[in-house]
Amino acid sequence: MECLVMFGAEFRRFSLERSKPGKFEEFYGLLQHVHKIPNVDVLVGYTDIHGDLLPINNDDNYHKAVSTANPLLRIFIQRKEDADYSAFGTDTMTRKKNVLSNVLRPDNHKKKPHIVISMPQDFRPVSSIIDVDILPETHRRVRLYKYGTDKPLGFYIRDGSSVRVTPHGLEKVPGIFISRLVPGGLAQSTGLLAVNDEVLEVNGIEVSGKSLDQVTDMMIANSRNLIITVRPANQRNNVVRNSRTSGSSGQSTESSLPSSTPNILANFLQGEEESDEEDIIIEDSGEPQQIPKAAPTSESLESLTQIELHESTQNGFLPSSEMNLNHSAGSVSMEYEVQDAEHKSLEEDGTIITL
């Protein structure tokens, strides 16, 4: 098996016995040896078959790397002191250019150094709560990263009815609910979804008015990157916002909206991009490769959104405190406003899909 190692601008190639990879310690030593950096602490990473940059720091993930390399094992080494942890994770390599530039020329990016509490980037994310800052507190938007894991999504949905507040008072309306979680499935393992949670949206599309079969098809169509907005049956574990305590902040709802919009947009875009893991092509019985995107006609726009997207990647996980402060208490009127904003962002999203 062939290994290609990149350390800064330096390349090294060597071969490795696939059947006897040895221990990580030995491999680490070997890397230091071939790059003649015996006393430098480095972070080792490799690209897996999905194009993700994943770390190698123990025997297990080292063996995984060796066993899945096909046929070439691409390894990236960074000095520990200027390592960019954010480079690791799902779909990092689809934005190869950025990652490469980050890895290869870390000094070019004057980024704030991360405070390393642990190394969460050592793991692939399986789920996240997103858009906490823009959703009503009673709702939860959950993103399931099916991509790259063997775990089944593992849940079922059913028809049901829920009570809504309408201008005509309380009304019983049909809704879609989670009916079952498969033990050991992705949905159950996240702990973010539960039986009897009402499904409100699938990847930004409202499900009201749609049949169970339609919602099923929508979820399956988005199964690689499923974002579902639910109203949890158990409302006790909701995220309580800072804004609630500082409820009488002078900020008006309207002024908070513009600031949240780009964030939603970014989240949707991100969703769009990541679900966009590319189809695979095999040419002339050669190696399977990902199908690249054809050069878009309106390059400026495309590249612009790309940048924005990358910048906001981290924001999607933890809402910045700034954003939270901008929100007033989750009044009913605000709920509608927010949904409006969502619609706007959706439309924009739509144009990008069909661009």
Partner: protein, 758 residues
């Protein structure tokens, strides 16, 4: 008991529940009359009732006695018969479906001395049959409309627009030779005057049937006319001997039954069923494929001929070993030459192995190649050299279900049906028991009932739920070949284009093969070669339902021979070509020859519907003849029709067309090349719709009602004319397609084509 009086009023006839009829004299005195004649026509054993009888006099003295029923109860009690007795002639017309009613057409002159019946009109449950009583042998009259579409269940349909006149005439001539047993009598029913303009072009609708026949219908106008019927049965050896038909009328057969009508729901062998049809209107080549993996290529011959059908086998499993096909066996073929009547005559038979149902078919009449696919893989056959070019197995090694064939699944369905019936029956029984409170109900039964109750309750508690799971490579039936497509395009490099074959599977894989077809002068000397050039795996893994190549002007490539016949511009080979892959969930455009994704439309993610049928439709402008555009006509699983623009994949319009519960209607839908479509609204009726303002087919007619009664009728008549005029006007006013269509709301001009179940 029913009775019928003779014209002059001197005698009458009565029919009875015991299968007898009696003739009576009519006299003015009050004495009990003596019957003239009492007869049990199909005695002496007990007979079924005669439910209706006619006694019609003729000039030559011998009356016609026509009656329904009266068959011997034991052996023919289940027949739907109408018997005609005229002197020594007697025939029991045997209908395949229940007779609803019948009447006799006779001289309508009130002064005429005799009835002189000319025809008998029988409305059976499934068809209308008219029998000519004037001509010897009493032949049936060829129906000009209300043809029975469902003689044998329709299994597939194929529409070909704008048939060249030459081919049209040859098909009609082949069909007329099949109709010699019909009477020459003009259709005796006056249904009004058709005032629709002559159809602008000749359109053919081909229906494939369960019994291995293909019927050719003239679909140019409002009524479907049967032009020609093709049977593929003669190629095969089946259990049923073709000579053993019910039409043979033995001399000493009693009752003298004769089967009439075309409705015949019984198929001798379900393997004969036709699944895919492709007709090349320029060359007259026809390919049909069936349930047992049979693929036939046929040529139109104006004469009867006797010849050997070349036979080849395509082993689609190839190197996959250790599998056992548990489905039906392949069809046995006849050895030696077979006699074929004039019309389409098969000359090549390819049988797929395992003999699974053919799921896709493509014919290229210019390259003389036919491609076919099943749930196991696909193959390419050179029907000029009669040589198999290649086969490709698409089966996932772990896909046991696809290997076992359809049987295991059918069984399980049957089983579950049986169980549910049993459950219903049992619950009924148990509820009756409870109500009756009869003492002899054993404890076991009670326990059973309780168990059923519990089971029912459990069913009610567990609601309908749907599993949410990503599609995976290990899913069943991923290898099922859904679509095949021939294209002359840039597959390998941008400087040379070459013939290619594209195949799409249920698992979202697209295979592209580069073909080398020798030039015409060496066509017989050099073999056709094929080499796999590309394999695309769509990550969402939804079934691929359509593949299309767009030329440099983003126009879909023309059909084979279309350019040679000057009916299409030659495709633009200068600009770069694009590949459109339509899966059930997404539309994706890729560049060629280097495959990179260009744009896409994620239909399912946005709307929650999936693509069932897709085709390119040409929409012409009503105002100018020289402007038209190509779009995709899409039918979704919700029964909506959507028009999606090419090449930018923008949704133009959406129209709910078929109810989403009408699964068979959705499955039966075919689009035409010019934005019309057909779908079955019942087993025997096609509904026709038009998406194009240029091509409308509307039923327009005038019925002349005799003005003897009140002026009410006259009013009705003018009202109808008005309606007709109105619909014409609206047809014209909707000019530019797009906005006007939305406004007018008359997008779909539904026209009932075959309304006979009423």
């Amino acid at each position: 008991m029913l009775s019928e009086k003779v014209r002059d009023g001197s005698k009458f006839i009565s029919c009875h529940y015991d299968g007898s009829y009696t003739q009576w004299p009519v006299s003015s005195d009050n004495r009990q009359p003596e019957p003239l004649e009492n007869l049990v026509p199909y005695g002496p054993f007990p007979c079924k009732a005669i439910s209706k009888i006619y006694w019609q006099t003729t000039k030559n003295g011998l009356p016609y006695i026509i009656f329904q029923g009266g068959m011997p109860r034991a052996s023919y009690g289940d027949r739907h018969s109408i018997s005609v007795v005229h002197g020594s002639q007697q025939t029991a017309f045997d209908f395949t479906s229940r007779v609803i009613d019948f009447f006799i057409i006779f001289s309508s002159e009130p002064t005429a001395e005799f009835d002189d019946p000319s025809a008998m009109v029988v409305l059976a449950e499934e068809e209308l049959v008219v029998i000519d009583l004037k001509t010897a042998g009493w032949p049936a009259v060829h129906p000009p409309y209300l043809a029975s579409l469902h003689c044998s269940a329709i299994t597939c349909s194929h529409h070909v627009s704008n048939i060249p006149l030459k081919l049209w005439e040859r098909i009609i001539s082949a069909g007329s030779k099949q109709n010699i047993h019909y009477s020459n009598m003009p259709w005796p029913i006056d249904g009004g005057t058709n005032i629709a303009p002559d159809p602008p072009q000749r359109d053919l609708l081909l229906t494939g049937h369960e019994d291995g026949t293909v019927r050719f219908w003239d679909a140019s106008g409002v009524c479907l006319h049967l032009l020609y019927k093709l049977s593929t049965v003669r190629v095969f050896l089946t259990d049923a001997d073709p000579n053993d038909n019910m039409n043979t009328l033995g001399e000493d057969e009693w009752p003298p039954l004769r089967k009439v009508g075309t409705f015949d729901p019984y198929s001798d062998d379900p393997r004969l069923g036709i699944q895919k049809i492709y007709l090349c209107k320029y060359s007259g080549y026809l390919a049909v494929a069936g349930t047992a993996g049979q693929v036939l290529v046929m040529e139109l011959n104006d004469e009867d001929a006797e010849h050997v059908v070349d036979h080849a086998e395509a082993d689609l499993l190839q190197d996959q070993e250790g599998y056992r096909w548990k489905g039906h066996e392949k069809l046995k073929t006849r050895d030696g030459p077979v006699r074929f009547e004039a019309g389409f005559q098969p000359f090549v038979l390819v049988q797929c192995q395992p003999p699974a149902v053919v799921t896709s078919l493509a014919l290229h009449s210019e390259w003389k190649l036919v491609a076919f696919g099943t749930s196991h893989g696909f193959g390419l056959f050179d029907h000029q050299q009669k040589r198999l070019v290649f086969v490709k197995c698409t089966l996932h090694p772990s896909d046991q279900l696809a290997l076992e064939g359809p049987l295991s699944r059918v069984k399980s369905l049957k089983k579950s049906l049986r169980q549910s019936f049993r459950r219903i029956r049992r619950s009924r029984v148990s509820s009756r028991k409870r109500r009756g409170g009869s003492g002899n109900a054993s404890e076991v039964q009670e326990a059973n009932a309780k168990f059923d109750q519990d089971a029912l309750q459990e069913m009610e508690l567990a609601p309908v739920q749907r599993k949410i799971e990503a599609r995976s490579a290990e899913d069943s039936f991923t290898g099922f070949v859904r679509t095949l497509y021939f294209a002359d395009t840039f597959l390998r490099d941008s400087s040379r284009h070459c013939p290619s074959l594209w195949a799409g599977t249920n698992g979202g894989t697209v295979y592209a093969f580069c073909l080398r077809v020798p030039p015409a002068e060496r066509r017989m000397d050099e073999p056709v070669r094929a080499e796999q050039a590309k394999e695309i795996q769509l990550m969402h893994r939804a079934p691929v339902v359509g593949i299309l190549v767009l030329d440099g002007r983003s126009t879909p490539l023309p059909e084979p021979l279309e350019v040679a016949h000057d009916l299409s511009k030659s495709p633009d080979m200068q600009g770069s070509h694009q590949l459109l892959v339509v899966s059930e969930e997404q539309f994706k455009v890729f560049t060629l020859p280097k495959v990179s994704s260009k744009l896409k439309l994620k239909l399912t993610a946005l709307e929650g519907c999936r693509v069932r049928k897709v085709t390119v439709a040409n929409f012409g402008s009503c105002k100018t003849d020289d402007y038209s555009e190509n779009d995709l006509a899409v039918l979704t699983n919700l029964g909506d029709i959507q028009i999606i623009s090419l090449p930018f994949l923008k949704l133009q319009i959406r129209y709910p067309c078929i109810r989403k519960e009408d699964v068979s209607g959705i499955a039966s839908c075919v689009f035409t090349k010019y934005g019309q479509g057909f779908y079955l609204i019942s087993p025997s009726e096609f509904e026709r719709f038009s998406l194009s303002t240029k091509w409308l087919v509307e039923p327009r007619c005038i019925v002349d009602v005799p003005e003897v009664t009140s002026n009410n009728h006259v009013h009705n008549k003018s009202g109808m004319e008005n309606a007709a005029r109105k619909s014409r006007a609206s047809g014209r006013s909707s000019g530019d397609y797009g906005e006007d269509e939305r406004k007018s709301g008359r997008l779909m001009e539904h026209a009932l084509l075959n309304d006979e179940s009423e």
